[in-house]
């Protein structure tokens, strides 16, 4: 597993040779969508290769390869809910889930509490401990050591956000959404949780900070099923899902 996403520059050269693996193609395109500068660069490469193959209006062989290989996993994931829809829980487990959901809703992520940080969570080791799940957010700026971001911390524009997450049973998956001020949005996962809180594993996801000042909101949905984690990010209610949010301020770059 990679702990970081290689920069688009590195992948584009291999893209132009048609040797990217499906996961690499998906990662490259996901990165290009989330990063305006890299997106423009991808478009330049695409235009050049289309011209080389003689038609600016038709995708080049490199594009066809990357798009086809990169899109299959997402298409199959969209088909999954029908198979997973039937409940697998016994009535006792359902009852326990409902109790857990009420506990989580009331104690852990109360939507209407009046504390200043009610809509945020606190990183491990500070403040209220999270309920069997943990998300840690890091700011990785070129040439600087990576640092963890606590509630209210800032990260430089253009730097990368990196993530680590952990959870105790029944939480097995986490999906992450990063939303900027200007509608820019990255949704990634669901990722399998590889460790418990305190032994969080890195997520295979990095997200560039926007160039404009402001803030981004990181939302993480933890669930016992990948579908439930994604559904929670879409705002669908599902018992037993924990949703954590943290705002990261955008600091002017160097």
């Amino acid at each position: 597993m990679r702990w970081y996403e290689r920069h688009i520059d590195a992948s584009l050269t291999r893209w132009s040779q048609g040797v990217l693996a499906p996961a690499e193609s998906a990662r490259l395109l996901r990165h290009a969508h989330g990063c305006a500068r890299c997106g423009a660069r991808y478009e330049q490469w695409v235009r050049a290769h289309r011209a080389l193959e003689g038609d600016l209006d038709q995708p080049s062989s490199m594009e066809r390869h990357a798009l086809t290989e990169g899109g299959l996993a997402a298409a199959l994931a969209a088909a999954a809910p029908a198979e997973e829809a039937p409940a697998r829980w016994s009535s006792l487990a359902l009852l326990a889930g409902a109790v857990a959901a009420v506990f989580l809703a009331v104690v852990v992520v109360p939507p209407a509490t009046n504390t200043p940080n009610a809509h945020e969570f606190t990183a491990r080791g500070e403040g209220t401990p999270p309920p069997g799940v943990a998300l840690r957010i890091f700011c990785a700026a070129a040439g600087q050591p990576m640092r963890e971001l606590h509630a209210g911390d800032a990260c430089k524009s253009g730097a990368m956000l990196a993530f680590a997450a952990g959870g105790n049973a029944p939480y097995s998956h986490v999906a992450v959404q990063v939303r900027g001020a200007k509608k820019a949005e990255v949704t990634a996962g669901p990722f399998v949780l590889s460790g418990a809180p305190g032994k969080e594993g890195p997520l295979e996801l990095t997200v560039p900070m926007p160039q404009q000042p402001g803030a981004v909101e990181v939302t993480a949905a933890f669930a016992d099923r990948p579908v439930a984690a994604l559904a929670a990010l879409r705002g669908e209610q599902d018992g037993g899902v924990v949703v954590l949010k943290q705002e990261v301020k955008v600091e002017d770059g160097p």
Binding site: Y4, H7, Q17, E43, G71, A77, P81, A164
Partner: protein, 230 residues
């Protein structure tokens, strides 16, 4: 593939069988890509005009088309009688228009005009002046690159890139082995990238060295976190 004379395939498709969905995806993905690459006629207050998806939007539209089409309700909605490609392209068209609306390339109230009879009278061009200029520039760069190649390199580029022959067919025409064609093509593509960088077409303002250093530091920090006792 679909529509199924074979009911078992249709049933497996509706159930969401991954193997069948993968076959459907691989069969229709090139058609969907080709369809999404065309210019779409849209009608709005300013009259009818044609717009095309950007390369990144093309990726998003292609993926979203299959994501929508493979959702359980859409799989059930396919009747198994009409050609599946037509069903899929209907999804692709609405996806493309939704994307262009979302990105502001067409007005929210714009409607696709592809089925309108007057469409055949529309001018087929429709590129913006900027697109035209970029197209001219990049075509000139390609011409420059091809002209500078030795004869065999030009012949390979012509067969593989322009005529779209497979490596096997190109090898046969050039009296080379497929392995030789593969190696020469890779070299050609590398030279093309270098040519684009040298000409300034590909901005090289990123400094990979710095980025690599940042990434290395990030990795080391995560390693340290991972090994800390809880």
């Amino acid at each position: 593939m679909l529509p199924g004379n074979d009911r078992a395939v249709l049933e497996a498709f509706r159930r969401g069988d991954a193997a069948v969905l993968t076959q459907v995806y691989r069969k229709y993905s090139p058609e969907v890509l080709r369809y999404l690459s065309r210019r779409f006629a849209v009608g709005g207050e300013g009259g009818t005009r044609t717009v095309a998806l950007s390369a990144l939007d093309l990726d998003a539209a292609h993926q979203e088309t299959f994501v929508r089409a493979f959702r359980p309700n859409m799989r059930q909605a396919y009747d198994g009688v009409r050609p599946y490609l037509g069903f899929l392209l209907t999804v692709a068209r609405s996806t493309a228009i939704d994307l262009m609306r979302a990105s502001g390339r067409v007005a929210r109230e714009a409607v696709p005009m592809d089925d309108a009879p007057e469409l055949s009278h529309l001018p087929t061009e429709g590129r913006s002046p900027e697109e035209e200029a970029l197209g001219t520039e990049v075509r000139a760069l390609v011409r420059q690159f091809l002209d500078a190649l030795p004869e065999e390199g030009r012949a390979l580029a012509q067969l593989r890139f322009v005529e779209g022959l497979s490596q096997e067919s190109a090898a046969e025409k050039l009296q080379l082995t497929r392995g030789e064609v593969r190696v020469r093509e890779k070299r050609l593509r590398t030279q093309f990238t270098e040519h684009l960088k040298a000409s300034g077409w590909l901005d090289t303002s990123f400094e990979p060295g710095r980025m690599e250093l940042g990434v290395l530091l990030a990795s080391m920090a995560l390693c340290a976190i991972g090994s800390m006792p809880s």
